[in-house]
């Protein structure tokens, strides 16, 4: 199974919601690394460890934004797995997807 590490494949310093907030935004992460996953049917693990931390706007825009981009929640649950040493990050991401 393919793994995307946010720290290694994107940035150790995740930023805000959009590029206007500054570098390494949630929208950039979504467009560069998440959206291409749904072009295929492969299951991908998103690893949240190794970064300085996350703002809620980064996580909401990256994952909640997938639903607003038109990707069905069932497809997201079917193709994404989450891995983090902090359970609270995974539950936060799941909440953003559910509430989007």
């Amino acid at each position: 199974m393919k793994t995307i590490s946010i720290a290694k494949d994107f940035s150790v310093y995740p930023g805000g919601r959009t590029p206007e907030d500054g570098p390494h935004s949630g929208r950039e992460f979504r467009e560069q690394l998440l959206i291409p996953i749904f072009d295929g049917n492969e299951r991908v693990v998103i690893n949240f460890d190794g970064v300085r931390g996350y703002g809620s706007s980064f996580l909401e825009e990256a994952f909640g934004g997938l639903v607003r981009c038109g990707i069905a929640k069932e497809k997201i649950w079917g193709q994404l797995d989450f891995c983090s040493s902090k359970d609270s990050i995974i539950s936060e991401v799941k909440r953003y997807i559910n509430e989007a």
């Binding site: 940035s11 310093y13 995740p14 930023g15 805000g16 919601r17 206007e20 907030d21 500054g22 570098p23 390494h24 970064v51 300085r52 931390g53 996350y54 703002g55 809620s56 706007s57 980064f58 909401e60 909640g64 607003r68 902090k86 609270s88 953003y96 509430e99 989007a100």
Partner: protein, 333 residues
């Protein structure tokens, strides 16, 4: 009826606050000069909570008034100061830095006479450097001073966090990610919400620096403070989330502290962008893992420890927002 009484009480509080400010200014007498410089003295304790809040904020306002009245040479006098609280010092630092950004011809100087500890703090955070007094900058040695660090910027903090939180601290605080997340939200709010309009008096050059950040390690606690000079949370909340404010008001939140405390609890927004507005609740995560969060904005102060939220209002308004996180450090230095 109750609302009318509350409004009357609020206006009365504002009136007394203005009177108290005038009284403090009167106690100081007229402006004192030393050579070409106008002398402005800081209080015994630089703090924005408790009994020294009024004096500290009045000094800041006095500096701004002097600049607006055309004064360009200000002598900062810390000779009486014996204690500096980081959350108050960042307000002073931010205002001085902003004045230098807006009026490059302004010349600040510090009086040489200060106690050793205060001189070390002023050196460490770069006040003497800002004043062009490198002759005072003997390297700080005190353990409670050498860990003060400062950075400033525009947009989210990202890589700049390394200027205020060292690798050593990251390894000693398992929940340091929550502070980073809080800093991201605070600096993003400074960019997006804090400056919807220019404030009265001295404008803020928020395209040069929109936020300022301090960190301090003291008594085995890491404190990180982010400050903006915007129009404050109680003013921006109605602009960005009018329905949230209406909901809070219907629940009886009328004071600045009530509004901040209510916004922390994240009442659901019914606007088209209901996915927004997670920033303030995110800042509380530090408090839920054994740390604390304090938000100062305009007249309100909200302390969060665990699930306990304490709201307090002061007479003197802070012109901006200061958010302070504190976490105990584990492991060895």
């Amino acid at each position: 009826m109750i609302n009318r009484i509350r409004t009357r009480h609020r206006y009365r509080s504002m009136f007394y606050a203005a009177q108290a400010e005038k009284k403090i200014l009167a106690l100081w007498g007229g402006p004192k000069r030393q050579g070409n410089f106008l002398l402005i003295a800081f209080p015994k304790e630089i703090s924005i909570s408790g009994r020294f809040r009024g004096e500290t904020l009045t000094v800041i306002e006095r500096i701004k008034e002097c600049i607006l009245s055309g004064e360009r040479k200000i002598l900062l006098d810390f000779s009486m100061t014996k204690k500096i609280i980081a959350s108050a010092m960042i307000a002073i630092y931010a205002e001085l830095n902003n004045i230098k950004n807006v009026y490059p011809d302004v010349c600040f100087r510090c009086r040489k006479k200060t106690c050793n500890k205060i001189r070390q703090v002023l050196t460490q955070i770069g006040i003497y450097k800002m004043c062009g007094q490198k002759c005072f900058t003997k390297k700080p040695t005190r353990s409670d001073v050498v860990h003060w660090r400062v950075c400033m910027g525009v947009g989210v903090i990202c890589e700049q966090i390394d200027k205020v939180i060292s690798e050593n601290e990251i390894s000693r605080v398992s929940q340091v990610g929550d502070i980073y997340g809080g800093c991201i939200e605070a600096t993003k709010n400074a960019l997006r919400h804090a400056y919807p309009e220019q404030r009265m008096g001295i404008p803020v050059a928020h395209d040069v620096s929109g936020w300022w950040c301090f960190s301090q390690v003291k008594d085995n606690n890491l404190t990180v403070v982010v400050c903006d000079l915007g129009v404050s949370i109680p003013r921006t909340l109605p602009l960005n989330f009018p329905d949230v404010l209406a909901k809070l008001k219907s629940l009886g939140a009328n004071t600045d502290a009530d509004i901040i405390a209510g916004a922390l609890k994240r009442p659901r927004s019914s606007s088209g962008e209901s996915y927004r507005g997670n920033g303030l609740p995110k800042m509380m995560e530090v408090a839920s893992v054994g740390g604390s969060l304090i938000i100062y904005s305009r007249r309100g102060t909200v302390n969060v420890f665990g699930s306990d939220i304490r709201a307090e209002n002061y007479r003197n308004p802070l012109r901006g927002t200061i958010i302070s996180w504190s976490l105990p450090l584990g492991g060895k230095e």
